[in-house]
Symmetry: C2
Subunit: 211 residues, 2 copies
DNA sequence: GTCTATACATCGATAGAC
DNA sequence: GTCTATCGATGTATAGAC
């Protein structure tokens, strides 16, 4: 029924170890600028300056601005894929449900707060998914899909939870956390509509794990 | 404890009936273009053409492009506020929980699908909240806050649910639905990661309403 | 108030020297 | 491969006629 975890696609972009110094500098500079200012507000001049190369050099490594941008997003999806939640990190999804779920949600919230790039990345994915429809693919394949599949597999394995639909439950956990982070951190709901992450997590666990 | 519903702010922009024909045309044209192409990819020339006025006329009614954009967002937040979910529509939140919650979630999903402007609006709010930090305010005040408050008030009123934290539960419902819509409709998860809205809603209700 | 015409800046992309 | 210099297009915003 479910797709096995081995179906998770391997690296899309080139192996970092095979990148030239210039290419790596361009990718790093572009990542920094795109995350800070978005797509259209990031000029090729800014990227060139941030990367320490000339603009023409960028065009000798990438076809155009859109090509460089999509390369960045794919690169970030891989990077965030492994830090936001790595399904290969299987031992994190073993053990007593209340403990596992608390550890998992805590990890999500912490990383969203500590790594400011995460919110900017989500902003970019959603904001530019109209202009770049193919942009969502690396996010879904490398982040959303592995997370949902690994979590639903865990929920399904814990028979004492007696969940009728583990995948739907996994999506509820992910949606609750992501929207909470969006509302509180990205849309400044922290001040206008206060709510502690502890209350959210406690309640979420109470909803999923029967008393 | 909770803010009473009467504290929901009234209209921020001018009364539509007091707008001149030109101003209304500009607002409508700008709304159409901003929703279709985003902020930076919408030029003042395009807005002028869509509104059927000259570019100079726009600048006689609005200070600059950013001013026009924020006016549009505030206008949309009011409009969507009443269509996405109107807390004044109180009779929608009365009755048996399973029925009420099914009706509410169904309404959310239907409107997101039927009104294509809703997804574009969400994309704009999130995507441009970096450039325009004050942009999130109309969304939170007019959409998120009234929804959460009205739903948590209802959940609290149904004592048979025995919810320890009605507001956190209300946020879980909203987050589940919004992220589901984002993933499936905006990020093309419908094809890459299929999931029916019926399964999501059924499971969500089972989590909230005890058997 | 509304228009046409334009000033001025900046962008993506490239030509050509080295 | 990498650079400097530049082209052509397009953007925001405004001046000035009506």
């Amino acid at each position: 029924m479910r797709t096995p975890l081995s179906a998770v696609p391997k690296s899309i972009v080139s192996d970092p170890k095979k990148l030239s110094a210039k290419t790596a500098a361009i990718l790093d500079g572009a990542m920094q600028e795109f995350l800070a200012h978005g797509y259209t507000d990031t000029s090729m001049d800014r990227i060139a300056a941030a990367a320490g190369v000339s603009k023409a050099t960028i065009y000798s490594h990438f076809q155009d601005k859109a090509d460089l941008f999509t390369a960045i997003i794919q690169r970030l999806a891989e990077h965030k894929f492994s830090t936001f939640f790595d399904p290969r990190d299987a031992h994190a999804l073993q053990g007593e449900p209340r403990l596992v779920l608390r550890q998992l949600t805590g990890k999500m919230y912490e990383q969203a707060l500590q790594d400011t790039q995460f919110c900017e990345f989500m902003r970019l994915i959603i904001g530019e998914s109209g202009r770049f429809p193919e942009l969502a693919k690396p996010y879904i394949e490398n982040i959303a899909k592995p997370f949902i599949q690994a979590l639903s597999a865990y929920l399904e394995s814990r028979h004492e939870l007696r969940l009728k639909d583990p995948e739907a439950t996994a999506r509820t956990l992910m949606g609750t956390m992501i929207y909470f982070i969006m509302l509180q951190e990205m849309l400044h709901g922290r001040e206008m509509l206060p709510m502690s992450p502890e209350r959210m997590v406690d309640n979420l666990i109470d909803l999923i794990v029967p008393k």
